[in-house]
Protein backbone atom coordinates (compact mmCIF):
# COMPACT_ATOMS: atom_id res chain seq x y z
CA UNK A 1 0.00 0.00 0.00
CA UNK A 2 2.85 2.39 0.80
CA UNK A 3 6.47 1.80 -0.01
CA UNK A 4 9.10 3.95 1.65
CA UNK A 5 12.31 3.49 -0.28
CA UNK A 6 15.77 4.57 0.81
CA UNK A 7 14.59 7.77 2.43
CA UNK A 8 17.17 10.28 3.54
CA UNK A 9 15.88 13.29 5.42
CA UNK A 10 17.27 16.07 7.53
CA UNK A 11 16.03 18.70 9.92
CA UNK A 12 18.21 21.75 9.66
CA UNK A 13 21.70 20.43 9.10
CA UNK A 14 21.14 17.14 10.94
CA UNK A 15 20.52 14.08 8.84
CA UNK A 16 17.94 12.06 10.75
CA UNK A 17 16.75 9.41 8.29
CA UNK A 18 19.62 7.59 6.64
CA UNK A 19 18.31 5.32 3.94
CA UNK A 20 15.13 4.10 5.60
CA UNK A 21 13.15 1.36 3.87
CA UNK A 22 9.71 0.27 4.96
CA UNK A 23 6.73 -1.33 3.26
CA UNK A 24 3.30 -0.77 4.79
CA UNK A 25 0.90 -3.53 3.85
CA UNK A 26 -2.72 -2.88 3.11
CA UNK A 27 -5.02 -3.62 6.04
CA UNK A 28 -2.19 -4.21 8.49
CA UNK A 29 -1.14 -2.52 11.69
CA UNK A 30 2.55 -1.65 11.74
CA UNK A 31 4.17 -0.47 14.93
CA UNK A 32 7.43 1.43 15.02
CA UNK A 33 9.46 1.51 18.20
CA UNK A 34 12.80 3.05 18.81
CA UNK A 35 14.86 5.06 21.23
CA UNK A 36 14.65 8.83 21.51
CA UNK A 37 16.15 10.60 18.52
CA UNK A 38 15.97 7.53 16.28
CA UNK A 39 13.86 9.38 13.68
CA UNK A 40 10.35 8.08 14.40
CA UNK A 41 8.61 11.46 14.31
CA UNK A 42 10.80 12.60 11.42
CA UNK A 43 9.55 9.62 9.44
CA UNK A 44 5.92 10.52 10.07
CA UNK A 45 6.59 14.16 9.19
CA UNK A 46 8.34 13.16 5.99
CA UNK A 47 5.33 11.10 4.94
CA UNK A 48 2.89 14.00 5.41
CA UNK A 49 5.22 16.68 4.00
CA UNK A 50 5.99 18.70 7.12
CA UNK A 51 8.01 21.84 6.39
CA UNK A 52 10.53 21.03 9.12
CA UNK A 53 11.78 18.00 7.25
CA UNK A 54 13.82 18.16 4.09
CA UNK A 55 13.83 14.88 2.23
CA UNK A 56 17.14 14.68 0.43
CA UNK A 57 16.82 11.26 -1.18
CA UNK A 58 14.56 8.31 -1.83
CA UNK A 59 10.87 8.07 -2.59
CA UNK A 60 7.57 7.22 -0.98
CA UNK A 61 5.30 5.38 -3.34
CA UNK A 62 1.59 5.37 -2.71
CA UNK A 63 -1.15 4.57 -5.21
CA UNK A 64 1.52 4.48 -7.88
CA UNK A 65 2.80 8.01 -7.20
CA UNK A 66 5.78 9.43 -5.38
CA UNK A 67 4.00 11.49 -2.75
CA UNK A 68 7.13 13.50 -1.98
CA UNK A 69 6.17 15.62 -4.97
CA UNK A 70 2.78 16.46 -3.48
CA UNK A 71 1.71 19.33 -1.21
CA UNK A 72 0.61 18.32 2.31
CA UNK A 73 -3.07 18.86 1.51
CA UNK A 74 -2.75 16.68 -1.60
CA UNK A 75 -1.33 13.87 0.49
CA UNK A 76 -4.19 14.25 2.95
CA UNK A 77 -6.74 14.16 0.16
CA UNK A 78 -5.10 10.98 -1.14
CA UNK A 79 -6.01 9.45 2.23
CA UNK A 80 -2.90 9.92 4.39
CA UNK A 81 -3.53 11.08 7.95
CA UNK A 82 -1.09 11.88 10.73
CA UNK A 83 -2.25 12.06 14.31
CA UNK A 84 0.23 14.56 15.74
CA UNK A 85 2.26 13.97 18.85
CA UNK A 86 1.56 17.54 19.98
CA UNK A 87 -1.49 18.87 18.12
CA UNK A 88 -1.17 22.61 17.64
CA UNK A 89 -3.64 25.02 19.21
CA UNK A 90 -5.37 27.24 16.65
CA UNK A 91 -7.08 30.16 18.39
CA UNK A 92 -10.16 31.54 16.68
CA UNK A 93 -10.78 28.55 14.42
CA UNK A 94 -13.85 26.71 15.56
CA UNK A 95 -13.40 22.95 15.87
CA UNK A 96 -16.58 22.07 13.98
CA UNK A 97 -15.95 24.64 11.24
CA UNK A 98 -12.41 23.36 10.77
CA UNK A 99 -13.45 19.73 10.57
CA UNK A 100 -16.35 20.45 8.23
CA UNK A 101 -14.00 22.38 5.94
CA UNK A 102 -11.61 19.41 5.89
CA UNK A 103 -14.50 16.98 5.42
CA UNK A 104 -15.93 18.95 2.52
CA UNK A 105 -12.51 19.26 0.88
CA UNK A 106 -12.45 15.46 0.84
CA UNK A 107 -16.05 15.25 -0.39
CA UNK A 108 -15.26 17.67 -3.21
CA UNK A 109 -12.24 15.60 -4.15
CA UNK A 110 -14.44 12.52 -4.38
CA UNK A 111 -16.99 14.37 -6.51
CA UNK A 112 -19.63 14.33 -3.76
CA UNK A 113 -21.84 17.27 -2.80
CA UNK A 114 -20.75 19.27 0.22
CA UNK A 115 -22.31 18.45 3.58
CA UNK A 116 -24.21 21.30 5.15
CA UNK A 117 -23.63 22.50 8.70
CA UNK A 118 -26.66 20.72 10.19
CA UNK A 119 -25.82 17.36 8.60
CA UNK A 120 -22.21 17.68 9.64
CA UNK A 121 -23.03 18.55 13.23
CA UNK A 122 -25.14 15.43 13.47
CA UNK A 123 -22.22 13.35 12.22
CA UNK A 124 -19.79 15.07 14.55
CA UNK A 125 -22.03 14.66 17.59
CA UNK A 126 -22.26 10.93 16.95
CA UNK A 127 -18.47 10.56 16.86
CA UNK A 128 -17.99 12.83 19.88
CA UNK A 129 -20.39 10.75 21.93
CA UNK A 130 -18.68 7.53 20.88
CA UNK A 131 -15.29 8.89 21.91
CA UNK A 132 -16.60 10.04 25.28
CA UNK A 133 -15.76 13.66 24.47
CA UNK A 134 -17.55 16.62 25.99
CA UNK A 135 -20.25 18.11 23.72
CA UNK A 136 -18.66 21.57 23.96
CA UNK A 137 -15.77 20.28 21.82
CA UNK A 138 -17.95 21.23 18.86
CA UNK A 139 -18.00 24.90 19.67
CA UNK A 140 -14.54 25.32 21.16
CA UNK A 141 -11.61 26.56 19.16
CA UNK A 142 -9.37 23.94 17.61
CA UNK A 143 -7.28 22.39 20.41
CA UNK A 144 -7.23 25.71 22.25
CA UNK A 145 -7.02 25.10 25.98
CA UNK A 146 -7.54 21.36 25.49
CA UNK A 147 -5.91 19.00 27.96
CA UNK A 148 -3.40 16.50 26.57
CA UNK A 149 -6.07 13.79 26.56
CA UNK A 150 -8.64 16.02 24.87
CA UNK A 151 -6.16 16.85 22.12
CA UNK A 152 -5.49 13.18 21.44
CA UNK A 153 -9.18 12.36 21.40
CA UNK A 154 -9.70 15.25 19.02
CA UNK A 155 -7.12 13.71 16.69
CA UNK A 156 -9.06 10.44 16.76
CA UNK A 157 -12.28 12.35 16.16
CA UNK A 158 -10.75 13.86 13.01
CA UNK A 159 -9.54 10.44 11.92
CA UNK A 160 -12.98 8.91 12.36
CA UNK A 161 -14.72 11.73 10.51
CA UNK A 162 -12.24 11.92 7.63
CA UNK A 163 -11.91 8.14 7.19
CA UNK A 164 -8.38 8.10 5.75
CA UNK A 165 -6.71 5.04 4.19
CA UNK A 166 -3.25 5.28 5.77
CA UNK A 167 -3.12 6.40 9.37
CA UNK A 168 0.07 7.42 11.13
CA UNK A 169 -0.25 7.72 14.89
CA UNK A 170 2.70 9.56 16.42
CA UNK A 171 2.82 8.71 20.12
CA UNK A 172 -0.93 8.76 20.37
CA UNK A 173 -0.58 7.16 23.81
CA UNK A 174 1.65 9.80 25.38
CA UNK A 175 0.05 11.71 28.22
CA UNK A 176 -3.10 9.59 28.29
CA UNK A 177 -4.65 8.16 31.43
CA UNK A 178 -6.03 4.63 31.36
CA UNK A 179 -9.56 5.63 30.41
CA UNK A 180 -8.39 7.97 27.66
CA UNK A 181 -6.01 5.33 26.33
CA UNK A 182 -8.87 2.87 26.19
CA UNK A 183 -11.18 5.35 24.40
CA UNK A 184 -8.48 6.26 21.89
CA UNK A 185 -7.62 2.60 21.28
CA UNK A 186 -11.28 1.77 20.73
CA UNK A 187 -11.45 4.57 18.20
CA UNK A 188 -8.46 3.13 16.38
CA UNK A 189 -9.90 -0.38 16.47
CA UNK A 190 -13.20 0.89 15.04
CA UNK A 191 -11.24 2.14 12.05
CA UNK A 192 -9.76 -1.27 11.29
CA UNK A 193 -11.55 -2.70 8.30
CA UNK A 194 -9.02 -4.96 6.65
CA UNK A 195 -8.33 -2.28 4.03
CA UNK A 196 -6.93 0.53 6.11
CA UNK A 197 -3.25 0.64 7.06
CA UNK A 198 -1.86 1.88 10.38
CA UNK A 199 1.60 2.99 11.38
CA UNK A 200 1.74 3.33 15.15
CA UNK A 201 4.77 5.15 16.51
CA UNK A 202 5.27 4.54 20.20
CA UNK A 203 7.78 4.33 22.99
CA UNK A 204 5.73 1.97 25.09
CA UNK A 205 4.06 -1.37 24.65
CA UNK A 206 0.85 -0.53 26.51
CA UNK A 207 -1.06 0.81 23.49
CA UNK A 208 0.01 -2.26 21.53
CA UNK A 209 -1.84 -4.35 24.11
CA UNK A 210 -5.04 -2.70 22.87
CA UNK A 211 -4.52 -2.51 19.13
CA UNK A 212 -2.62 -5.72 18.26
CA UNK A 213 0.04 -4.88 15.68
CA UNK A 214 0.70 -7.25 12.81
CA UNK A 215 4.29 -6.06 12.44
CA UNK A 216 6.72 -4.41 14.80
CA UNK A 217 9.65 -2.47 13.34
CA UNK A 218 12.58 -1.15 15.29
CA UNK A 219 13.97 2.17 14.12
CA UNK A 220 17.45 3.12 15.19
CA UNK A 221 19.74 5.83 13.90
CA UNK A 222 17.53 6.61 10.94
CA UNK A 223 17.01 3.08 9.65
CA UNK A 224 14.69 0.15 10.28
CA UNK A 225 17.03 -2.33 11.92
CA UNK A 226 14.64 -5.14 12.72
CA UNK A 227 11.14 -6.23 11.75
CA UNK A 228 9.13 -8.92 13.47
CA UNK A 229 5.78 -9.82 14.93
CA UNK A 230 4.24 -8.80 18.26
CA UNK A 231 6.75 -11.00 20.04
CA UNK A 232 9.39 -8.38 19.26
CA UNK A 233 7.72 -6.04 21.75
CA UNK A 234 8.33 -8.53 24.56
CA UNK A 235 11.95 -8.85 23.54
CA UNK A 236 12.41 -5.07 23.56
CA UNK A 237 10.80 -4.80 26.94
CA UNK A 238 13.01 -7.50 28.32
CA UNK A 239 16.32 -6.54 26.76
CA UNK A 240 16.02 -2.96 25.52
CA UNK A 241 17.11 -1.46 22.21
CA UNK A 242 20.76 -2.31 22.77
CA UNK A 243 19.98 -5.98 22.20
CA UNK A 244 18.52 -5.14 18.79
CA UNK A 245 21.48 -2.92 17.99
CA UNK A 246 23.68 -5.90 18.62
CA UNK A 247 21.62 -7.92 16.13
CA UNK A 248 21.79 -5.20 13.51
Amino acid sequence: MMEIKNIHAKIGENEILKGLNLTLEKGKVHAIMGPNGAGKSTLSKAVVGHYDVEVTGGEILYKGKNILEMAPEERALEGIFLSFQNPVEVPGVNNAYFLRTAFNAKERREGKPETNAAQFLKLMRMHIERLGMKPDMISRNLNEGFSGGEKKRNEILQMEVLQPDVILLDEIDSGLDIDALKAVSEGINRMKNGERTFLVITHYSRILDYIDPDYVHVLQEGRIVKTGGPELVKLLEAEGYQAIAGDA
Binding site: P72, A76, V88, V90, G92, Y97, F98, L99
Partner: protein
Protein backbone atom coordinates in the same frame (compact mmCIF):
# COMPACT_ATOMS: atom_id res chain seq x y z
CA UNK B 1 -6.30 76.21 -6.33
CA UNK B 2 -4.94 77.25 -2.98
CA UNK B 3 -1.42 76.93 -1.68
CA UNK B 4 -0.30 73.80 0.17
CA UNK B 5 -1.33 73.33 3.80
CA UNK B 6 0.63 75.81 5.90
CA UNK B 7 -0.04 78.14 8.84
CA UNK B 8 -0.94 80.82 6.29
CA UNK B 9 -4.31 79.15 5.89
CA UNK B 10 -5.34 80.21 9.40
CA UNK B 11 -3.14 83.20 10.11
CA UNK B 12 -6.23 85.39 10.16
CA UNK B 13 -7.28 83.89 13.52
CA UNK B 14 -4.35 84.76 15.79
CA UNK B 15 -6.66 85.34 18.76
CA UNK B 16 -8.09 81.79 18.63
CA UNK B 17 -6.71 79.58 21.46
CA UNK B 18 -6.13 76.77 18.96
CA UNK B 19 -4.02 79.02 16.77
CA UNK B 20 -1.49 79.47 19.56
CA UNK B 21 -1.48 75.73 20.12
CA UNK B 22 -1.06 75.05 16.40
CA UNK B 23 1.70 77.61 16.13
CA UNK B 24 3.56 75.96 19.01
CA UNK B 25 3.14 72.45 17.60
CA UNK B 26 3.84 73.51 14.02
CA UNK B 27 2.47 71.96 10.84
CA UNK B 28 3.48 68.29 11.05
CA UNK B 29 6.34 66.97 8.99
CA UNK B 30 8.05 63.64 8.53
CA UNK B 31 9.86 64.02 11.85
CA UNK B 32 6.68 64.66 13.86
CA UNK B 33 6.47 61.55 16.03
CA UNK B 34 2.87 60.55 15.32
CA UNK B 35 3.33 61.00 11.56
CA UNK B 36 6.80 59.48 11.29
CA UNK B 37 5.64 56.49 9.26
CA UNK B 38 2.68 58.13 7.59
CA UNK B 39 4.51 60.41 5.15
CA UNK B 40 2.34 63.42 5.92
CA UNK B 41 4.62 65.96 4.25
CA UNK B 42 3.79 65.14 0.61
CA UNK B 43 0.10 65.09 1.50
CA UNK B 44 0.23 68.58 2.93
CA UNK B 45 2.39 69.85 0.09
CA UNK B 46 -0.24 69.19 -2.57
CA UNK B 47 -2.34 71.95 -4.10
CA UNK B 48 -5.93 71.61 -2.95
CA UNK B 49 -9.14 73.50 -3.39
CA UNK B 50 -10.32 74.31 0.13
CA UNK B 51 -13.93 73.33 0.80
CA UNK B 52 -15.78 74.63 3.80
CA UNK B 53 -18.90 73.41 5.52
CA UNK B 54 -22.13 74.86 4.21
CA UNK B 55 -25.31 74.71 6.22
CA UNK B 56 -28.20 72.85 4.58
CA UNK B 57 -31.65 72.00 5.72
CA UNK B 58 -31.26 68.28 5.95
CA UNK B 59 -33.92 65.72 5.19
CA UNK B 60 -35.05 63.30 7.83
CA UNK B 61 -33.94 59.79 7.00
CA UNK B 62 -32.64 56.62 8.54
CA UNK B 63 -29.08 57.82 9.17
CA UNK B 64 -26.93 60.87 9.42
CA UNK B 65 -25.30 61.65 6.08
CA UNK B 66 -22.54 64.20 5.69
CA UNK B 67 -21.83 64.90 2.05
CA UNK B 68 -18.68 66.88 1.34
CA UNK B 69 -18.91 68.32 4.82
CA UNK B 70 -22.59 69.25 4.76
CA UNK B 71 -25.31 67.39 6.62
CA UNK B 72 -27.85 66.22 4.05
CA UNK B 73 -29.82 63.71 6.08
CA UNK B 74 -30.53 63.28 9.77
CA UNK B 75 -32.04 60.32 11.58
CA UNK B 76 -34.95 60.50 13.98
CA UNK B 77 -33.94 61.09 17.57
CA UNK B 78 -30.89 63.19 16.74
CA UNK B 79 -30.81 66.96 16.53
CA UNK B 80 -28.18 68.84 14.55
CA UNK B 81 -26.96 72.37 15.11
CA UNK B 82 -23.96 74.26 13.81
CA UNK B 83 -21.93 75.67 16.68
CA UNK B 84 -19.57 78.58 16.26
CA UNK B 85 -17.35 79.26 18.06
CA UNK B 86 -16.80 75.78 19.37
CA UNK B 87 -14.82 75.18 22.51
CA UNK B 88 -12.30 72.64 21.32
CA UNK B 89 -9.56 70.99 23.35
CA UNK B 90 -6.68 73.46 23.32
CA UNK B 91 -4.50 70.85 25.01
CA UNK B 92 -4.83 68.30 22.19
CA UNK B 93 -1.46 66.91 21.21
CA UNK B 94 -2.04 66.97 17.49
CA UNK B 95 -1.55 69.96 15.22
CA UNK B 96 -4.05 68.78 12.62
CA UNK B 97 -6.73 68.60 15.31
CA UNK B 98 -6.16 72.32 15.84
CA UNK B 99 -5.92 73.03 12.13
CA UNK B 100 -9.11 71.19 11.25
CA UNK B 101 -10.97 73.17 13.92
CA UNK B 102 -9.52 76.44 12.70
CA UNK B 103 -10.54 75.56 9.16
CA UNK B 104 -14.05 74.50 10.28
CA UNK B 105 -15.41 77.34 12.32
CA UNK B 106 -18.93 75.86 12.31
CA UNK B 107 -18.89 72.49 14.03
CA UNK B 108 -21.68 70.02 13.28
CA UNK B 109 -23.08 69.28 16.74
CA UNK B 110 -25.28 66.26 17.37
CA UNK B 111 -27.36 65.71 20.44
CA UNK B 112 -29.51 62.75 21.39
CA UNK B 113 -32.14 63.29 24.05
CA UNK B 114 -32.76 59.58 24.50
CA UNK B 115 -30.99 56.29 23.90
CA UNK B 116 -30.36 56.02 20.18
CA UNK B 117 -28.51 54.03 17.56
CA UNK B 118 -27.79 55.66 14.24
CA UNK B 119 -25.57 55.34 11.19
CA UNK B 120 -23.17 58.13 10.32
CA UNK B 121 -22.27 58.04 6.64
CA UNK B 122 -19.59 60.26 5.11
CA UNK B 123 -19.72 60.92 1.39
CA UNK B 124 -16.78 62.58 -0.26
CA UNK B 125 -16.66 62.98 -4.04
CA UNK B 126 -14.56 66.01 -4.93
CA UNK B 127 -11.16 65.69 -6.53
CA UNK B 128 -8.07 67.61 -5.38
CA UNK B 129 -9.96 69.10 -2.48
CA UNK B 130 -9.06 69.75 1.12
CA UNK B 131 -12.18 69.09 3.11
CA UNK B 132 -12.02 70.02 6.78
CA UNK B 133 -15.04 69.46 9.01
CA UNK B 134 -15.71 68.62 12.61
CA UNK B 135 -18.46 66.74 14.34
CA UNK B 136 -19.39 67.14 17.97
CA UNK B 137 -21.51 64.66 19.88
CA UNK B 138 -22.78 65.06 23.38
CA UNK B 139 -24.17 62.02 25.18
CA UNK B 140 -26.35 63.23 28.01
CA UNK B 141 -26.11 61.74 31.53
CA UNK B 142 -27.31 58.14 31.81
CA UNK B 143 -28.06 57.93 28.08
CA UNK B 144 -26.66 55.44 25.63
CA UNK B 145 -25.73 56.38 22.08
CA UNK B 146 -24.46 53.95 19.48
CA UNK B 147 -22.97 55.18 16.22
CA UNK B 148 -22.02 53.10 13.21
CA UNK B 149 -19.75 55.20 11.03
CA UNK B 150 -19.13 54.42 7.35
CA UNK B 151 -17.43 56.13 4.41
CA UNK B 152 -18.05 56.44 0.71
CA UNK B 153 -15.55 58.14 -1.57
CA UNK B 154 -15.89 58.38 -5.31
CA UNK B 155 -14.01 60.60 -7.72
CA UNK B 156 -12.13 62.17 -4.85
CA UNK B 157 -8.68 61.67 -6.31
CA UNK B 158 -5.78 63.44 -4.61
CA UNK B 159 -8.05 64.86 -1.95
CA UNK B 160 -7.50 65.11 1.76
CA UNK B 161 -10.30 64.64 4.23
CA UNK B 162 -9.43 66.38 7.46
CA UNK B 163 -12.23 65.58 9.83
CA UNK B 164 -12.76 64.60 13.41
CA UNK B 165 -15.02 63.90 16.32
CA UNK B 166 -15.26 65.75 19.61
CA UNK B 167 -17.40 63.60 21.87
CA UNK B 168 -18.50 64.39 25.35
CA UNK B 169 -19.67 61.35 27.33
CA UNK B 170 -21.38 62.74 30.39
CA UNK B 171 -21.65 61.05 33.81
CA UNK B 172 -23.11 57.54 33.68
CA UNK B 173 -23.57 57.82 29.91
CA UNK B 174 -22.36 55.30 27.34
CA UNK B 175 -21.06 55.92 23.85
CA UNK B 176 -20.45 53.05 21.53
CA UNK B 177 -18.67 54.13 18.37
CA UNK B 178 -18.10 51.56 15.63
CA UNK B 179 -16.26 52.68 12.51
CA UNK B 180 -16.16 50.66 9.33
CA UNK B 181 -13.63 52.32 7.10
CA UNK B 182 -13.71 50.04 4.11
CA UNK B 183 -15.26 52.24 1.44
CA UNK B 184 -12.42 54.67 0.91
CA UNK B 185 -11.07 54.87 -2.61
CA UNK B 186 -7.41 54.29 -3.16
CA UNK B 187 -6.60 57.87 -4.03
CA UNK B 188 -8.30 59.58 -1.08
CA UNK B 189 -6.28 60.42 2.01
CA UNK B 190 -7.86 60.88 5.40
CA UNK B 191 -6.62 62.25 8.67
CA UNK B 192 -9.09 61.96 11.53
CA UNK B 193 -8.31 63.81 14.73
CA UNK B 194 -10.56 63.00 17.65
CA UNK B 195 -11.15 63.82 21.25
CA UNK B 196 -13.34 61.76 23.58
CA UNK B 197 -13.99 63.21 27.00
CA UNK B 198 -15.41 60.48 29.23
CA UNK B 199 -16.75 61.95 32.45
CA UNK B 200 -17.18 60.19 35.82
CA UNK B 201 -18.74 56.75 35.44
CA UNK B 202 -19.02 57.28 31.70
CA UNK B 203 -18.22 54.50 29.26
CA UNK B 204 -16.72 54.60 25.81
CA UNK B 205 -16.59 51.61 23.54
CA UNK B 206 -14.57 52.50 20.47
CA UNK B 207 -14.23 49.81 17.79
CA UNK B 208 -12.64 50.67 14.49
CA UNK B 209 -12.41 48.43 11.45
CA UNK B 210 -10.20 49.80 8.76
CA UNK B 211 -9.79 47.88 5.52
CA UNK B 212 -8.93 50.80 3.27
CA UNK B 213 -6.29 50.99 0.60
CA UNK B 214 -4.98 54.55 0.63
CA UNK B 215 -3.52 56.67 3.38
CA UNK B 216 -5.47 57.19 6.55
CA UNK B 217 -4.48 57.98 10.08
CA UNK B 218 -6.71 58.48 13.08
CA UNK B 219 -5.36 60.31 16.08
CA UNK B 220 -7.30 60.07 19.32
CA UNK B 221 -7.11 61.77 22.66
CA UNK B 222 -9.27 60.03 25.23
CA UNK B 223 -9.63 61.52 28.73
CA UNK B 224 -11.14 59.34 31.43
CA UNK B 225 -12.92 60.68 34.50
CA UNK B 226 -13.33 58.91 37.83
CA UNK B 227 -14.57 55.36 37.25
CA UNK B 228 -14.49 56.15 33.54
CA UNK B 229 -14.20 53.17 31.24
CA UNK B 230 -12.77 52.81 27.76
CA UNK B 231 -12.70 49.68 25.62
CA UNK B 232 -10.86 50.46 22.40
CA UNK B 233 -10.31 47.93 19.63
CA UNK B 234 -8.70 48.56 16.26
CA UNK B 235 -8.66 46.08 13.42
CA UNK B 236 -6.62 47.15 10.43
CA UNK B 237 -6.18 45.25 7.19
CA UNK B 238 -4.17 47.02 4.54
CA UNK B 239 -2.61 46.11 1.22
CA UNK B 240 -0.96 47.68 -1.78
CA UNK B 241 0.99 50.78 -0.85
CA UNK B 242 -1.41 51.81 1.91
CA UNK B 243 -0.19 53.58 5.01
CA UNK B 244 -2.82 53.43 7.68
CA UNK B 245 -3.16 53.28 11.38
CA UNK B 246 -4.06 54.71 14.73
CA UNK B 247 -2.37 57.01 17.19
CA UNK B 248 -4.09 56.84 20.55
CA UNK B 249 -3.46 58.73 23.75
CA UNK B 250 -5.54 57.58 26.70
CA UNK B 251 -5.26 59.75 29.79
CA UNK B 252 -6.13 58.46 33.24
CA UNK B 253 -6.14 61.56 35.40
CA UNK B 254 -8.81 60.51 37.91
CA UNK B 255 -8.95 57.43 40.17
CA UNK B 256 -10.61 54.09 39.40
CA UNK B 257 -10.71 54.50 35.63
CA UNK B 258 -10.22 51.48 33.41
CA UNK B 259 -8.96 51.23 29.85
CA UNK B 260 -8.48 48.26 27.58
CA UNK B 261 -6.95 48.60 24.16
CA UNK B 262 -6.53 45.82 21.64
CA UNK B 263 -5.07 46.51 18.19
CA UNK B 264 -4.81 43.86 15.50
CA UNK B 265 -3.22 44.51 12.14
CA UNK B 266 -2.91 42.41 9.00
CA UNK B 267 -0.68 43.73 6.25
CA UNK B 268 -0.22 42.60 2.67
CA UNK B 269 2.14 43.56 -0.14
CA UNK B 270 4.02 46.75 0.74
CA UNK B 271 1.48 48.23 3.13
CA UNK B 272 2.53 50.02 6.30
CA UNK B 273 0.50 49.71 9.48
CA UNK B 274 0.80 52.13 12.37
CA UNK B 275 -0.14 51.62 15.98
CA UNK B 276 1.20 54.28 18.29
CA UNK B 277 -0.54 53.96 21.61
CA UNK B 278 0.16 55.71 24.87
CA UNK B 279 -1.71 55.20 28.09
CA UNK B 280 -0.79 57.87 30.57
CA UNK B 281 -1.70 57.32 34.21
CA UNK B 282 -1.37 60.54 36.18
CA UNK B 283 -0.43 60.79 39.84
CA UNK B 284 -4.06 61.30 40.90
CA UNK B 285 -5.24 58.30 38.92
CA UNK B 286 -4.91 55.78 41.74
CA UNK B 287 -6.41 52.30 41.28
CA UNK B 288 -6.34 52.68 37.52
CA UNK B 289 -6.46 49.60 35.34
CA UNK B 290 -4.82 49.95 31.96
CA UNK B 291 -4.15 47.22 29.42
CA UNK B 292 -2.83 47.63 25.91
CA UNK B 293 -1.88 45.09 23.30
CA UNK B 294 -0.93 45.23 19.65
CA UNK B 295 -0.62 42.17 17.44
CA UNK B 296 0.33 42.31 13.78
CA UNK B 297 0.57 39.68 11.08
CA UNK B 298 2.62 40.40 7.99
CA UNK B 299 1.43 38.36 5.03
CA UNK B 300 4.14 39.56 2.66
CA UNK B 301 7.85 40.13 2.99
CA UNK B 302 7.69 43.86 2.21
CA UNK B 303 4.82 44.74 4.52
CA UNK B 304 5.87 46.93 7.45
CA UNK B 305 4.39 47.38 10.88
CA UNK B 306 5.24 50.23 13.17
CA UNK B 307 4.04 49.36 16.67
CA UNK B 308 4.76 51.56 19.62
CA UNK B 309 2.83 50.58 22.73
CA UNK B 310 3.64 52.81 25.67
CA UNK B 311 2.67 53.24 29.29
CA UNK B 312 3.53 56.39 31.17
CA UNK B 313 2.83 55.94 34.86
CA UNK B 314 2.98 58.46 37.69
CA UNK B 315 1.26 56.51 40.45
CA UNK B 316 2.08 53.28 42.29
CA UNK B 317 -1.41 52.01 42.88
CA UNK B 318 -2.56 50.57 39.59
CA UNK B 319 -2.68 47.54 37.32
CA UNK B 320 -1.13 48.04 33.93
CA UNK B 321 0.26 45.97 31.09
CA UNK B 322 1.24 46.47 27.50
CA UNK B 323 2.80 44.50 24.70
CA UNK B 324 3.26 44.14 20.98
CA UNK B 325 3.94 41.23 18.67
CA UNK B 326 4.71 41.25 14.96
CA UNK B 327 5.00 38.05 12.98
CA UNK B 328 3.78 35.90 10.17
CA UNK B 329 0.95 33.41 10.16
CA UNK B 330 1.66 30.53 12.52
CA UNK B 331 3.40 27.96 10.30
CA UNK B 332 2.46 25.08 12.59
CA UNK B 333 -1.21 26.04 12.53
CA UNK B 334 -1.09 26.46 8.76
CA UNK B 335 0.49 23.06 8.33
CA UNK B 336 -2.00 21.44 10.68
CA UNK B 337 -4.93 22.67 8.59
CA UNK B 338 -3.27 21.63 5.34
CA UNK B 339 -2.48 18.19 6.75
CA UNK B 340 -6.24 17.63 6.97
CA UNK B 341 -6.73 18.35 3.27
CA UNK B 342 -7.58 22.04 3.46
CA UNK B 343 -5.95 23.88 0.52
CA UNK B 344 -3.25 26.35 1.50
CA UNK B 345 -5.15 29.45 0.35
CA UNK B 346 -8.21 28.41 2.32
CA UNK B 347 -6.12 27.53 5.36
CA UNK B 348 -4.46 30.94 5.25
CA UNK B 349 -7.82 32.62 4.99
CA UNK B 350 -9.13 30.64 7.98
CA UNK B 351 -6.19 31.73 10.11
CA UNK B 352 -6.40 35.38 9.05
CA UNK B 353 -10.14 35.44 9.68
CA UNK B 354 -9.63 33.84 13.08
CA UNK B 355 -7.08 36.51 13.94
CA UNK B 356 -9.46 39.28 12.87
CA UNK B 357 -12.56 37.70 14.34
CA UNK B 358 -11.36 38.25 17.87
CA UNK B 359 -12.11 41.93 17.32
CA UNK B 360 -15.11 41.55 15.02
CA UNK B 361 -16.78 39.33 17.61
CA UNK B 362 -16.24 42.01 20.22
CA UNK B 363 -19.09 44.07 18.77
CA UNK B 364 -21.44 41.12 19.20
CA UNK B 365 -23.00 38.95 16.56
CA UNK B 366 -25.51 40.70 14.33
CA UNK B 367 -25.90 42.68 11.14
CA UNK B 368 -22.97 45.01 11.89
CA UNK B 369 -20.58 42.16 12.56
CA UNK B 370 -21.73 40.33 9.43
CA UNK B 371 -21.19 43.43 7.32
CA UNK B 372 -17.75 44.03 8.76
CA UNK B 373 -16.83 40.38 8.29
CA UNK B 374 -17.94 40.53 4.64
CA UNK B 375 -15.96 43.73 4.05
CA UNK B 376 -12.94 42.16 5.68
CA UNK B 377 -13.13 39.09 3.44
CA UNK B 378 -13.55 41.30 0.36
CA UNK B 379 -10.46 43.30 1.38
CA UNK B 380 -8.50 40.13 2.04
CA UNK B 381 -9.13 38.88 -1.48
CA UNK B 382 -8.38 42.23 -3.14
CA UNK B 383 -4.89 42.36 -4.65
Amino acid sequence: MMAPVTLDLVRTQPQHPLYARLASLGIPGNKTEQYRHFAIKPLLARDYALRTVTEHTPETGSRLVIENGSVTEIPAGVSVTYVSPFEADAAHYDALYCLSHLLSPAVICLEAASDVFFGLHHVFNEAQALLPYRICLSVLPEKRVEVFETFETKGSGESLLLYGIDADVQPHATLRWVRNESGTASETALVGTHRFDVKANGALELKTFDFGTARALHLYKIDLGEYGWCDAGHLLMAGGEARRGNVVRINHDKPYAKSVQDARTILKQTATGIFDGLIRVGEKARYASARQNSKAVLLDRNAYMYAKPQLEIYTDELEASHGATIGQLDEDALFYLRSRGIPEAEARKMLVLAFADALIESIGEGVLAERIRADFEAAYFTD
